[in-house]
């Protein structure tokens, strides 16, 4: 029952059309950088964002790490060396193109963002002399202090700086509009992308966007297996409105995807099974290097990859003897021996050695700069830590020199999930791309979390900017194609259908999301079997055909939440089809088959999937289909001057 009158004007069915050279779908990190890049190339740009661009998206409220900046002046690794390690660590199931772009251009983008007003250096000399700081450039590093590829950044300053730059460049930013579909030439699946449609999240107004080229910068899918009707906002790591609309509309338009069968046991969300990210005791990512003690105050040692106990604090940040470098960060959960860095003794071993639970993160005895960089800089700049953790804990009396913060569970996640509670995390599936970051749909480019095997902030920024360059080139050489009005009217009918239904006996978005999540847990959980996957698909098709027509929404906000769940339903079906297509288990994809003895194990390949005439078509690509990284990058980017970050 609603007790409030809807405060915004209702504009159901009214329509507004925007036309531009470049259409950017999504105003997160990738979207903003794509818009900036395109606008600097003289293109007219429209950017559409579901929330408020200034601080929206997964990185909108902050970020403390910028990974893989292999060209920064202190880096000990080349972009080729680092990308190869990222490929090797995942048995080749990684996006060689997008991560090479990240490694090769990421540092240019950092300098670029600094030029816009973002803070990337310790200009106040607060950490002068610290082991993680280069006193000449004042850049600060995390994890591997010898190879210095991951930077500590003041990410809360980044998004507002990008927003200002877009305004300066004349990008037309349309906030509070959910992109709902892609428009293709003649309305055909797989046809040239000619624009998109959207719906206003407050007024319900319908939008038509026309452009010469479009850049898909929407989020990765979420809430496929995880749902809580009471804590929807806490179901996943990324914000609740970032649920993979892009994947769903891309699928409907005939875009090709890969690695969609990959999911991992949930490791990061908070809907009852974990704690606020980086707000509980842990020693990973934001908190890497923190000391961990047991409930009697006994310190738990760090060891190298061979299990040798590290005697000094500094060694927590150095490769092992004979090891050139180690990998740590957002998508490095279980690195291979070659790339394994220092860690505290494994949980089970600690218990058997008599350490007493619970454990605590203890910053009190650490070098002052290390304590302050974790508590005050990293906890402060990282996404959801400034107000909810740093400020609130401080106000409640937490003093890192005196207090120790409790750990829950056994790892960095401070969480404990069941095997069937899964999520798309750690290099998940997404749009397949070529060296121009174009999809199989001509005129549709892709960046950030829409890409397969995406990960962090620097990856989003670097690929966004790169996609903007290549989309601009395309838009400069091509005209504006016609949209098919019938495709627009069909979409309009689809998005508005629920508001015409009878609220009595109807199904709301939460009930549908929970139904999907439970279906996915049941039929596409830890162990995959053909017979279960097929039943799962039938259940979801029933939802599609019988339940969607019974759904209802009271207002534009709830309609958008419902349309998101329709997209979750679409993505769930892509996942089931992809799981059916992969016949044998794959460690790198965290994919376990219970019935693989029926099938012969072949060569490890990427499975690709798309629709043609609404028929699901699967195929295969070689893992390293992108060829030689350096050679191909240089072939496709002759006009990009490296180091000249501000290439207006």
């Amino acid at each position: 029952m609603h007790n409030f009158e809807w405060p915004y004007p209702l504009e159901w069915d009214s329509e507004e059309t925007s036309t531009a050279d470049i259409l950017v779908l999504g105003g997160g990190i990738a979207g903003c950088m794509a818009a900036i890049s395109s606008a600097r190339r003289g293109q007219s740009v429209v950017l559409v964002e579901k929330a408020a661009t200034k601080m929206s998206g997964a990185g909108g409220s902050g970020c403390d790490h910028w990974e893989s900046a292999a060209t920064n002046p202190c880096s000990g690794l080349s972009p080729e060396e680092l990308t190869q390690a990222m490929l090797d660590d995942n048995d080749g199931f990684n996006n060689g193109i997008s991560h090479y772009i990240e490694c090769r251009e990421g540092y240019d983008r950092l300098l670029d963002i600094e030029g816009m007003g973002g803070k990337i250096r310790d200009t106040e000399d607060e950490f002068k002399g610290a082991a993680f700081r280069d006193d000449e450039s004042k850049l600060m590093f995390a994890y591997d202090y010898r190879n210095r590829i991951t930077l500590r950044i003041w990410g809360t300053t980044f998004k507002p700086a990008m927003y200002k730059e877009m305004k300066r460049l004349g990008v037309k930013i349309i906030d509070r509009v959910m992109v709902s579909s892609l428009l293709t030439e003649d309305g055909k699946q797989g046809g040239l992308c000619v624009g998109a449609t959207g719906i206003h999240t407050r007024t319900g107004k319908f939008y038509v966007f026309r452009a010469k080229a479009s850049i898909m910068c929407l989020s990765r899918p979420a809430r496929i297996w995880l749902f809580s009707s009471d804590y929807t906002g806490l179901c996943e790591f990324r914000p609740p409105q970032c649920i993979g609309d892009g994947h769903a509309m891309g699928w409907r338009a005939g875009a090709e995807f890969t690695m969609m069968e990959k999911s991992v046991v949930a490791e990061f969300s908070a809907a009852g099974r974990s704690y606020p990210p980086y707000g509980a005791g842990n020693n990973h990512n934001t908190w890497y290097g923190a000391s961990i003690i047991d409930s009697e105050g006994k310190e738990i040692p760090y060891t190298d990859r061979d299990g040798n106990i590290l005697r000094s604090f500094e060694e927590r940040f150095l490769p092992a003897k004979g090891q050139k470098f180690f990998l740590k960060g957002g998508s490095v959960d279980y690195p291979k021996y070659n790339y394994e860095g220092p860690e505290t003794v494994p949980f089970a071993k600690m218990i058997s050695q008599g350490y007493k639970l619970p454990f605590y993160a203890d910053l009190s005895g650490m070098p002052e700069t290390e304590r302050k960089v974790i508590w005050g800089m990293m906890v402060g700049e990282e996404g959801k830590t400034k107000i909810p953790v740093y400020e609130n804990y401080r106000k409640a009396g937490f003093d890192p020199e005196k207090h120790v913060l409790q750990c829950y569970g056994e790892g960095w996640t401070s969480a404990s999930f069941l095997p069937q509670e899964r999520q798309l995390f750690g290099l998940p599936g997404g749009f397949l791309n070529n060296w121009e970051l174009q999809t199989n749909i001509e005129g549709l480019y892709v960046a950030g979390d829409s890409l397969y095997a995406s990960n962090c902030y620097g990856h989003a920024a670097a690929t966004g900017y790169y996609a903007g360059r290549h989309a601009s080139k395309y838009a400069s050489a091509n005209g504006l194609a016609d949209i098919r009005l019938e495709q627009v009217s069909t979409e309009k009918k689809r998005v508005y259908a629920p508001i015409h239904n009878n609220p009595e006996n109807s199904i709301g978005w939460k009930e549908l999301n929970m139904g999907i999540a439970k279906t996915m847990q049941n039929y596409c959980g830890e162990i995959k079997r053909d017979e279960l996957l097929k039943i799962g698909l039938l259940r979801l098709q029933e939802y599609e055909n019988k339940i969607i027509p019974e759904t209802f929404a009271y207002n534009p906000h709830e309609l958008v939440r419902l349309l998101e769940v329709f997209d979750i339903l679409t993505v769930s079906q892509i996942i089931l089809h992809s799981c059916l297509a992969r016949k044998t288990s794959s460690k790198a994809l965290c994919f376990n088959r219970g019935d693989e003895n029926m099938y012969k194990k072949g060569e490890e390949m990427l499975i690709t999937i798309k629709q043609i005439n609404n028929q699901v078509i699967t195929g295969e690509r070689e893992l390293c289909f992108f060829g030689d990284l350096k050679e191909n990058y240089e072939k496709y980017n002759r006009d990009y001057k490296e180091g000249t970050y501000y290439d207006r």
Binding site: F4, S56, D230, G233, L234, P239, Y360, N392, H403, L405
Partner: protein
């Protein structure tokens, strides 16, 4: 007994992520403009704190607090199940 009704039409929320201090809030609606989830709506009475219409959708990022021009007018609270414990190191063992 108060004059409050014992039966409310609205369901009790599972958490109250946003707490306003009505004395300090000027009703400028900056929090509404920045919230990426769009969980607020403006108060019908001008100058009064926004209404938290969809508390369950809160992502707990704290942007609403960060942009608030009136110190102490709005605060963010993790749900009880997500409130973390700490202890003085001297009290261990």
């Amino acid at each position: 007994m108060t004059d409050r009704s014992f039966i409310s039409e609205a369901e009790m929320p599972a958490s109250r992520p946003i707490i306003f201090n009505a004395e300090k809030c000027t009703g400028c609606n900056s929090c509404i403009d920045i919230c990426q989830v769009d969980l607020f709506i403006p108060n019908q009475v001008k100058g009064k704190p926004p209404i938290v219409l969809y508390p369950g959708e809160c992502w707990y990022c704290g942007c609403c607090v960060a942009v608030c021009p009136s110190e102490g007018a709005i605060s963010l609270r993790h749900p009880l199940m997500n409130q973390v414990h700490w202890i003085a190191k001297a009290d261990l063992g």
